[in-house]
Amino acid sequence: MNSPENFVSASASNAGPAGDSSASDASLDSTLRLIARLTPPAGLEDRIHAGLQAELQASRFRVASPKGRVLVWPASQPAAVSWFHSRPARTAAAMAIVAVVLGGGWGIASRVKPTTTAGGPALPNRAAGPGGFSSAGAMRTPQTLHGPVVVPGLVQSPAGAISPVKSKTLKKPLLPGATDEQRNAEAKPASGLNK
């Protein structure tokens, strides 16, 4: 009967292949048993012992030696320079650095005068260097043009020109929606001319 219990009991006790096991079971069991009963290589225990001894020696060396540090400064410095690490010395050094920085800044600020005025942009002053060309005091005067001269009495109006007075009599054309009275008023001047 193929049940888990049978398989376990057969394999755990290793009593050999079960009576009803097939050929595949037998070959499987023989292979597994071959590996399970393998003889370890000669000298295995000695090599393991040697490896453990080497590891023990290494671990003892690690314990005996101080903690490894990449940089041991300043612990390894001699006592003669240890004053440098005292609190007053550090404070004094920090104050000196601050004084140097502030003094330098104040010196620069006091020497540099502002060249800009509030009125407009600052222009660079042209330095009169030695040699070169100069304007010799000449001033530039702009050229002026002579305009047209109007002579009274010589003015003639061109033929066909409409005077401003006549233009006032011009009437607007009637719109399509004009009333009959408007049309009659428009027609009257024309009839008067015919008489």
Binding site: V8, A12, S24, L34, I35, I48
Partner: protein, 186 residues
């Protein structure tokens, strides 16, 4: 004076631990080697795995006194080492298995040809074992060891005993199918 006494006691304790470890090596090195070989199928790799397992024990040797079943504990350590190594070494040519098996096979009056044929057969069976799902394969491999009962296999794999039984049942059925299928194809 007190310092000297404590140093002496410490040295004595260390010496006792080392002695206990040496005894473990003498007693279980062979068993651990076989367990490692069943998975790795290579003599050199198996030996390295055993060495690494004992190095792990050395690093935690202060716990040796607390371990109830040292054999199962050691097998579990080497089992973890072996699985780690197996995971790291993705693939290995099958010819290595055959050559290594031929080397480790007992020479029971077999000729060279007979040994080669036997190695080929065992390699074929182990190839089928490798095709099993991991859970079933692990139980099947451990079940072959005389030293391990189903309870101890459960302790090594951290599963219940009933799981061991059911997995072994499935593994054997799957193996029968695989081997019959391979036989019918020949």
């Amino acid at each position: 004076m007190e310092n000297t006494n404590s140093r002496t006691a410490e040295q004595a304790r260390q010496h006792a631990e080392e002695e206990a470890l040496a005894a473990l090596v003498t007693q279980y090195a062979g068993t651990l080697y076989r367990v490692a070989y069943s998975v790795l199928r290579n003599a050199g790799d198996a030996e390295d795995a055993v060495q690494e397992a004992f190095l792990r024990v050395l690093r935690h040797r202060e716990k040796l006194g607390e371990i109830r079943d040292q054999r199962v504990w050691l097998i579990r350590i080497v089992w973890n080492v072996v699985l780690d190594r197996k995971r790291r070494a993705k693939t290995r040519p099958e010819t290595d298995d055959v050559a290594d098996l031929a080397r480790v096979l007992p020479a029971n009056g077999l000729s060279a040809e007979g040994r080669a044929a036997a190695a080929q057969h065992h390699s074929h069976v182990l190839t089928c074992v490798d095709k099993l799902p991991a859970k079933e394969r692990e139980v099947l491999l451990l079940s072959a060891f005389e030293e391990l009962s189903s309870v101890e296999i459960a302790a090594v794999l951290k599963i219940t005993e009933s799981s061991v039984r059911s997995r072994l049942f499935r593994a054997r059925n799957l193996m029968a199918d695989l081997l019959n299928h391979a036989r019918s194809q020949r």
